[in-house]
């Protein structure tokens, strides 16, 4: 066990208004520790994806503060670039680059951002593909893969930057039901390796098994934070009970 728990993400009183005036985040606090797995749940429109996307500055915020791995996300663009290099993200729509082969999708960031030679990272990329179980597809293009395979490539692509924190924004929501499992299996493996993970998902079984803490967000606020056992079996908050009654 670590002697002291190290903070990976510290969000304090984060507030965000959309340009149209909608108050999407209403003072959100969250601390994520190194090696911890946090699952964020909540109804659609609760601001959970928006909140997650503030962690690597894909969304800005107007009030409060977010510190990721010791770097504050403010208007300093160098900090934003530094944070993005250390934080991997997996999207609902995969967002693979369709004009590049699977292998080139993986190599793009290491060669251009880390400035490493292609020959030096190609082995790492191939072993990463093996890890997510699709090494035989390295020279295909994303359009030739199934949704589940594409999402596993997206995970491998993020891992090639050797991130310290992985963000998952509804990674299985646009998959056919039978493909969900292969993606969740990869995420389980990643969790076993000790990766710090923040996951927005509706997969209750995954949350029960993997999460250290589960969060319910509603209307731009954190309603409840609890270990999965307590969250799913003895939720304190009435809003959580209602939410669980609808999805379980």
């Amino acid at each position: 066990m670590q002697p002291t728990k190290q903070l990976m993400v510290q969000a304090k009183g984060v507030q965000k208004w959309y340009p149209n005036g909608f108050h999407v985040l209403r003072g959100v606090d969250l601390e994520v520790f190194r090696g911890e797995k946090v699952v964020i749940m909540g109804p659609s429109g609760s601001g959970k994806s928006t909140f997650l996307r503030t962690f690597n500055a894909l969304e800005d915020y107007q009030e409060g503060s977010i510190v990721v791995d010791g770097m504050e996300l403010n208007n300093d663009l160098r900090n934003i670039d530094a944070v993005r290099r250390e934080v991997g993200m997996v999207f609902q729509q995969f967002n693979l680059f369709p004009h590049l082969s699977v292998l080139d999708n993986l190599l793009l960031a290491p060669t251009w951002v880390r400035k490493r030679k292609r020959e030096d990272v190609i082995q790492q990329a191939l072993s990463m593909l093996e890890r997510v179980g699709i090494s035989e597809q390295a020279y295909k293009f994303p359009g030739q893969l199934s949704g589940g395979q594409q999402q596993r490539v997206a995970i491998a692509r993020a891992l090639c930057m050797e991130p310290r924190l992985m963000l998952f924004d509804e990674p299985t929501s646009s998959l056919d039901p039978e493909k969900v499992r292969e993606v969740l299996d990869v995420m389980r493996l990643l969790a076993l390796d000790g990766m710090t993970m923040v996951v927005v998902t509706h997969e209750v079984a995954f949350a029960r098994e993997v999460a250290d803490r589960v969060i319910l967000m509603d209307e731009g606020q954190v309603v409840e934070i609890a270990p999965p056992d307590q969250f799913f079996n003895h939720p304190k908050h009435e809003r959580t009970q209602r939410f669980l009654a609808q999805i379980l």
Binding site: Q93, N95, F97, W112, R157
Partner: protein, 389 residues
Amino acid sequence: MKRSPLTLQRQLFGSLANSAFTLALFALLVWAGWGVLSWAFGSAQWLVLRANAATLTIGRYPDAQEWRLWLLLGMLTSLAGVSWGRLRGLNNWPLNDRIAALLFVISAVLLPWLLAFGAINQLRLIFLVLLLLLLRQWSGGAWSKAFGKWWALVWGITYVFGLWLIAGGLGLPAVRPSDWGGLVFTLLITSLTLLLALPFGVLLALGRRSGLLLVRWVCVAVIELIRGAPLITLLFVGQNLVGFLSPNGFAPDRVWRATGVLTVFAAAYLAEAVRGGLNSIPMGQQEAARSLGLSSVQTMGLVVLPQALKVALPALGGQCISLLQDTTLLSIVGLFDLLGIARSVLANPDWLGRYAEVYLFLAVLYWCSCAALALGSRALEKRLATNYS
């Protein structure tokens, strides 16, 4: 969709009315075709083309310097041969290769003979086609692999060298751009304008989407002002106004002024085509690239723009064809492009009234050039598209 042979029959002769229409139209076609053919082989006097073949090709370029054009053509032919051979080696090279080679052979033998080129020039052209085909045959090997890495650079250097070769200076006797003309001039100014306008158009398109307000306003203003004016008025502005405004002797040659106007004009239209492509790329692509740590410039250059240009390719190809045709307007501002030189030939009392022969020939030439551009852009589309499933 597979079409049964019966479909055509049904469409043409499905009912009594259909049959009547088909027969009537067919009769009309035969009548018109007969008219054209009997003119072409009867009353038409093709001597005007034979006598002026050289003028139509190179305009008033000095005879003594003609070797420079041949040298350039030879270099371009060699490069084209090597490139062709390498492209042919790619597994999804889409053109029908043998037919293309055959067309080259036929046109190289037949055209110079029909146009009564001198024997030496006929031999030169046949030699060039042989060179092209031989290089195409040989360039699959290892030595051309190195070329594969550098060919953009080699083409670029050759192009710049070619411009210098044509214009002269630095040791060679200078040939003023106003003395260039004919087919060579048309191809030269079209290619030069395209090379300049493509990057300029991409920059305009990016500027129009920029977050910097001033940049955006300037780009919108340039694009909309240019698109709001007919090209011919812009050409007149370039030819006359620029001359008045610049101090004596400082105005660039009229050819360069026209090139500038054409470039800006083409760039405005290309920019809109590129913008359409950019708009079609989902936000998620940018987000994914930025989340990997790529800078905004890298995101644009490595992720968004390659996809956007691919989407815009059909529109870009169309703009290239338009540009080639737009160069005919240069004849109205007094430059000797292919159409301009043809008009000057027709103004010669010796060839009075030979409009139909000359203009038909021009139409065929322009059609061939545009068809080549269209085929090229289709081939590029196909080649890029097979990357997808």
